[in-house]
């Protein structure tokens, strides 16, 4: 037995720092993400893939004009590219944080495993946001091939990026905003009600998130155009519209950047606080 104890005593020398612990936790997330890559990302790709298949391939083929040129020379697929990428980012980032959180905060409290690592608990929240944001970003990028290349003849989307920094900033800020919102919601709702989150938050957010129509087009329904401003997805859709399809009328840059970046900062801080309250009693 003493031999065992002696062997246990021979731990490799280690100098933990906050940065090393944070990096090790990110490495854990990447390991899990890599292992579950197919199942994780299939669920986010299927919906936009089927959507463009039906609306940019099947309907133009069978319905002719109705789903052909939507507005002037714009194809419907041109409208859809930024919208579907945006909704995929939001969906993937939120699911990446909410599902594990429900398990971790349930009665077994397996969150204690990570909470006992030598890292301040608010930074553990930040790590979760960074990891879920990374998943959102990857999810968004994986959707591009589907939305760019699945379409009927003559229905190709007109996409060109003039401003790469703007594109990257919108993608990253949108992913982090969704991850922060996910962490915040995941810590304030009852874990048993998590399916309600999808019914009451994600579904309306997607349908009313300027995914399938540009925000400017809503000026025919003024009250709705104002109401959807409460939906963060609108700013991501419009931000990507500005970056990917600048020829389509879109929200001013200052407006969507203010919400995407400012909202991320505010929600991130809020989520760090609510998460800390859930983990420490």
């Amino acid at each position: 037995m003493t031999a065992t104890a002696e062997a246990i005593g021979h731990a490799p020398a280690a100098q933990p720092t906050i940065a090393k612990t944070f990096a090790a936790m990110m490495a854990r997330e990447l390991r899990v993400m890599r292992r579950n890559f197919f199942s994780t990302f299939m669920r986010v790709i299927m919906q936009p893939l089927l959507f463009v298949f039906v609306f940019a391939y099947v309907l133009p083929k069978i319905g002719g004009g109705a789903f052909g040129r939507a507005a002037g020379s714009l194809t419907f697929s041109t409208i859809l590219v930024p919208g579907l990428v945006a909704s995929s980012i939001i969906m993937q980032a939120m699911m990446a944080v909410v599902f594990p959180l429900v398990m971790e905060l349930s009665w077994q409290k397996s969150i204690q495993d990570r909470a006992l690592a030598p890292l301040p608990v608010p930074l553990l929240a930040l790590e979760k946001i960074a990891a879920a944001g990374t998943q959102g970003l990857i999810g968004g990028l994986l959707v591009f091939p589907a939305v760019l290349f699945v379409h009927a003849k003559g229905q190709a989307p007109a996409v060109h990026i003039d401003d790469w920094p703007l594109f990257l900033l919108v993608m990253v800020a949108g992913s982090l905003l969704a991850a922060s919102a996910g962490l915040y919601l995941g810590t304030v709702i009852d874990p048993r009600q998590v399916t309600m989150l999808f019914t009451l938050v994600l579904l309306p957010a997607t349908m009313l998130g300027c995914v399938y129509y540009p925000w400017a087009a809503l000026d025919h329904i003024r009250w709705l155009q104002l109401a959807v401003l409460l939906n963060p997805l609108v700013y991501l859709s419009e931000g990507l519209r500005a970056a990917l399809t600048p020829q389509v009328e879109h929200m001013p840059t200052w407006a969507f950047l203010l919400v995407l970046v400012g909202g991320t900062v505010v929600l991130c801080r809020l989520a760090m606080r609510t998460f800390t309250h859930r983990v420490l009693t």
Partner: protein
């Protein structure tokens, strides 16, 4: 320098939870001190405040008032420093279900600053020592309760903590696993590991702990070595003698004798509660023989941690 500080020190430690039914005091003013290398047991019935104590000492529960230090570091003001020095095995299975058995240990090592290679080597070494070597690729869902507990202890030891906290480590384990675990913990302590264990198994505390404290309703009721507690006030030997038929009338004479605190006579049975039990059992048997009443059964229950525990905490049911 923290090495000359006590392993654990609490002063007037309180934790009150607020609930819809009002404030619930879980820990109500505990002063405790553990020396380095000590094996200490915190005993109490369910809901006594044991887990809340461990929660506060491991930084996951914020005290309402009072102070708690681990290795001289304040758990509220220096939680990260405290976490670097402790290992904790909770009652619940808190294994990382997204990782394999080996990865649970590997990432624990990396969280505590080891390189990936060192952490993997450490994980492999510990898994072999704990007889989990053939389960390294399994997920936590695929291993038994005893294996999961061993893995959690492994995980708590990966970074060789200065203080190891074990919250009811053998609850729900089979006797083989329990005894092997005891051996392991004894080995660790022999190697200088400070251990704080909570339990409501008296034999566990007797088998392992140098010092124990009995806690109930959030307060420390007694603290000392097992022998100290057994000798403490209120610990009595209970002698039970069963006769064939009514007990002899002479047993009533034991009432009022020095060292005898109580004599209970019921149908055919006499129970004597005594602090000085020497000779009493023989006397009860010979009194019966003189009266021509045979003795069918006789038992002497010496004061044990269990009788002390029940004397201190009472016998009403707990949640």
């Amino acid at each position: 320098m923290t090495s000359d500080q006590p392993a654990v020190r609490t002063v007037g430690l309180h934790k009150t939870y607020s609930s819809p039914d009002g404030d619930v005091p879980a820990v109500a003013g505990v002063d405790l001190e553990l020396a380095r290398g000590e094996f200490f047991g915190l005993l109490g019935p369910n809901g006594a405040g044991k887990s809340t104590m461990i929660g506060m000492l491991t930084t996951l529960v914020i005290p309402t008032s009072g102070q708690a230090c681990v290795c001289g570091l304040d758990v509220v003001r220096q939680p990260v420093e405290v976490k670097r020095r402790i290992g904790m095995v909770s009652q619940n299975n808190t294994l990382d279900n997204d990782l394999s058995v080996a990865e649970n240990l590997e990432f624990r090592g990396r969280y505590f600053g080891m390189s990936g290679r060192d952490a993997r080597r450490r994980a492999d070494g510990l898994l072999d020592l704990f007889n989990l070597g053939d389960r390294r690729k399994a997920t936590p869902y695929q291993i038994s309760g005893g294996q999961a507990k061993r893995l959690m202890i492994c995980r708590a030891l990966v970074h060789r903590p200065e203080v190891l906290f074990l919250d009811e480590p053998t609850a729900g384990l089979d006797p083989q696993t329990r005894v092997n675990l005891w051996d392991l913990l004894r080995g660790l302590q022999a190697d200088g590991q400070t251990i704080l264990l909570t339990t409501h198994y008296m034999e566990e505390a007797e088998a392992l702990c140098e010092r124990v404290a009995v806690i109930d309703h959030g307060r420390l009721l007694a603290c000392g070595t097992v022998a100290d507690l057994e000798e403490s006030a209120g610990a009595e030997t209970i002698i039970t003698v069963t006769y064939e038929g009514a007990p002899p009338a002479d047993v009533a004479a034991l009432r009022g004798r020095d060292g005898v605190s109580r004599v209970e006579v019921s149908d055919g049975q006499v129970r004597v509660f005594a602090r000085e039990p020497d000779g009493l059992l023989g006397e009860l048997v010979s009194v019966g023989a003189e009266a021509g009443i045979a003795v069918t059964d006789a038992a002497q229950l010496r004061p044990s941690l269990e009788t002390v525990f029940l004397t201190l905490t009472g016998r009403e049911y707990r949640e």
